[in-house]
Symmetry: D4
Subunit: 187 residues, 8 copies
């Protein structure tokens, strides 16, 4: 069913790509199809509306929308579709550390929800999309469980290396090859 | 398929019920089955873990978890299940206006996402759950679209009454009977 | 020229009327025509877009848009018109004191500005609209100067009453009849 | 009419020039005349007052004032003129990310409004000034519409290049020559 | 020397009197002369400037200025006088709890300082004024020391009553008559 | 050993008693001896210093210090003793919701720690004191475990009543008698 | 008794080691035994639970848990043990400066406390652990007093060097060899 | 009289010197005597108390105290002297941008005031000290007025250079030699 329900990754500017790219990489890990689009809620609003209106028809099951500052994009898309929209607040380096984008995304009025993840949380947005899609996709659900196990194993491998090498010798991130599915930028 | 995928509404204390009750009401509007539980991530952690572990097996498709203060409940549940978890930050009247709960819920580390909605946003959490479940439920998807249309009609009815009655005479919320599916506490 | 350039006062919900009503009252003081509309960026997005697109053609010279929470309405309108949009962040009683609405309104991306006034600052939004419209309306410019003088006189009258009555006897807001054009809720 | 209504760009210190310069560049794009002044609300208050008092008489139609920290300059100017004042909160690198300047600018008391744009939003301040001036300048209004179209086209060109080149190959900001009127520092 | 150096208590609106009145009461306790004025930095800016310019000549040794929101009054006065200005940020009930006024008052640019006290801290502003004036007034310095001792005695009396009566019986603020010079609204 | 190690509950003002009283009640539940004192870091600093210096000698094993605003009391005490100091930030109703007290208490410089609990968290401060004292008191450790079990049972009783009565009938806090050791003000 | 009561230092990711390492160094200074573990509340929740459940039995007297973002680890551990848990909020470079972690750690619900120290305060967490353990360890209590004296002496040595060398010549941190027990990164 | 009333510049750590040095430089400009001390409210509290107690007797007329984090030093000193204390909140690079220090310094309880200046505002603290001391020192008052004029002249010189050179050629801070008394790090 994953080939029917793909994910739309959208962002307001191509300057958001370095962060939003993580969502694409994560979906690739799971073999979930996706499309990437640059759409501005303010500079190309008609394109954003058109994108949202036609998303379900194009087989998009979840939309991931990243935006910084007065981050309207996720909410604007959500107004035009019943497809779940995941908002990624971006720290646009404007001094507020992304809290402006977080508030703009998460504080939606009753009636039209957006699902917010953490600031710059593009990877988690993709994992949430996978969790949502796996509700009607048995294979994807199993892949998600495998990912969780691999992730736990990766944390455990570090923990064991720390025990084996001892605190003074241990270099974070070093040594133990990263298992597939593990999160390299752990925190 | 809605009878297979029900929603779990959980909260850390029964004092959260006045807000979280909205989620139950909204799911009832859509005929989506749900269960309600009081589970504390800190006072009954084993019960919370058990709840999360067994949720998928009990047919729970989405978990809605409300919590205030150091709102760990949504994240703790998410750690034990791949079912999507929607976190509702509650303003627990502790002086910070719910921003503590918002940060505790939304800033999850990469690997285990939680979908945050706005502060006290129990109604939107339910609507997001409906949107997620409707991915594999054609009837629910149509019900959601109908809801959106009814909601728009309700806003429009107010707009028209305002035009008809004029600003001085108009009383917010008064007059025009609330259409089914409309959100009475509109904002 | 004021009858050509009217002001559009819009808000996302009729529950915003108690605050936004101040904008209407202030425009009435200046004899500036206005229209009031309830339009939701999320619940009736098509109506909001249509409103913005047709505003200039209807003779609207300035739009005043009030919104709380994830206050997208001013920005969404600004995306569809070149008419100046003044955003009024509303404290929607959601625990954040209106700072969510302020950030959502003021932190617009480069290319599509919104003019933000203070939280619940509907009166100032109207005065800003008058200042903007008076650029091409000599009569309005003079009325604005008169208002400023009356306002100064009103503050001075209080100051003098305070001197005359002395601190212990003085009751804020009492006594000296409010001059026309004075702001009764002075702060 | 643009040669009659020029824009005054003022700032409290020449260290604000790197940000405020953007306002000048943007006005040049539109052929709107402007003057630049360094005026401190605290160190040269008489000059600031004199500037505001004489602005309208010098043909200034809009004042853009940038300030950081306890950013009084926009409000002080607004107290002495009925010309619309646009305040640009500057992130003065003082640890608060510009939120101090934002509050100082936007939270004006009723009676004397300032139009706030986003932190470091000098470009948007200029675009807002153009929108205001275009109310009584048909040519400027058309230029603003053209700018919006060019801006949309620029976003679309990036979107298309992203589709053509694919995510792995795409370099933000690279490739497609910047169209005149496009915003190079897109976000 | 106290009759030469009096204190000027100013505020932007008579609605600030309930808080600022505390400053007057405290100065009365010390027999320090003072004058009270309502002056708006934005609505009667000329009066504010005139007040500051002539303060030293009138024998004003310290100015206490209370303001809320975009609290420019203390800084504007400081720009026109070398008399020390103490700023009292007022919580104007605008949703931000006075943090807007605090930032507007305390974050002055280098060259023109304002001395900020806590939010609604009118009493402390007066005590700071007394401390400043007592630098060149031996009698006032002694009165200040006496005040400190009486204040300590008042706290100690409560502590002793608590010990004597025990926790269950003790009623805050009750019983022990308030010593002269004690702070009744202890916190 | 509990009779040797008692707890000192101190606060800067008797107006803090309504919150700090909870700490006393909780210690009573565990049969841990305590003393209550009103001590101001600023108004009776010598008494505060003396209290801290002599605490260990009087058999005080843990100090719980509640303070609001610029909450220096816990840190000042910690500077004069090696007895662990638990700081309770109080929301003194000064507009900042207690975040000022939280920062003042928790952000201690390296070398002299204070253990902060949540805003108004007097009950948790007492429970933390019990946990600390139980390190060298086997009976207290068991009492703490019993408390945890009773607390879990109390949450579970509510959960079961909710299941039995159903959502519409359930009244938070009603019905099931509060088990000893249960927290009545559950959140 | 120190060899019986050791300290557990845990963190959610090995990327937290550069900060948390300070806790280990400090405990080494005092000869307090400790163990270091990488445990994620979300990625290896079972390991975290197991760690907390077995801590007391392994002779762990205090747990120090560092975490950033939605910092659940300290609270999750506290839910499974009555051993005192000290939480260290980490600034994970996510834009919020660690305030998210601070709120997530400190705002625990009544019934299950966590002792929070300052952001990145790993050294203070260790000193707090030493203070707690020294309640039932006379030798450790004396070592802590010695440390405090050495620390004071180190500050005094700097103060004296500053007086001797004068302000222009003085280089912070330079010169006077760091005494054992002194805090090199003084602030 | 300046040789009688000197200024005490104190800070909690020598790592604060790079910022606090500005206060010394500014006092030197005015020929005001000062002493510099490193005193920690927490690590050498007795020294801090002793310093405050003896300050007046040593001829100290104003104390300037810089501190970061839980910045208790200014308040602790103020508790032991009636000499006016000016607090300088330092951004200690701990993630909160100095707002922790600001709240800890400014939110003093009624009865013991501290005069707060802006974050890292050491120069303004010195200028405020000069203003305070000049109340009873005619020469100093004149020097302060001269400084203000020189400062205004310096800003004006930049303004004129900007007009003469034009925006594209102007380099901030360049060119016009800094007048004595001018603020080189303007803003």
């Amino acid at each position: 069913m994953t080939d029917r329900h793909r994910v739309g990754i959208v962002m307001g500017s191509d300057s958001d790509l370095p962060v939003m790219r993580e969502a694409a990489k994560t979906l690739e890990q799971f073999g979930v199809g996706f499309e990437v689009a640059v759409l501005s809620a303010h500079r190309t609003p008609d394109d954003a509306v058109e994108y949202a209106r036609t998303a379900a028809g194009r087989g998009i099951g979840v939309i991931i929308a990243g935006a910084g500052g007065a981050a309207h994009l996720p909410g604007v898309l959500a107004a035009y579709t019943t497809v779940p929209v995941i908002g990624v607040p971006l720290d646009a380096g404007k001094g507020l550390g992304g809290v402006d984008a977080l508030y703009s995304i998460v504080q939606m009025p009753p009636g039209v929800p957006v699902a917010a993840v953490g600031i710059n949380g593009a990877r988690n947005a993709a994992l949430l999309a996978v969790a949502i899609l796996s509700l009607c996709d048995q294979h994807l659900r199993e892949a998600l469980r495998d990912f969780r196990h691999a992730q736990a194993a990766s944390v455990r491998a570090k923990a064991e290396r720390l025990t084996a090498e001892g605190l003074p010798a241990y270099v974070p991130g070093g040594g133990a090859g990263n298992a597939p599915g593990g999160n390299r930028r752990s925190r």
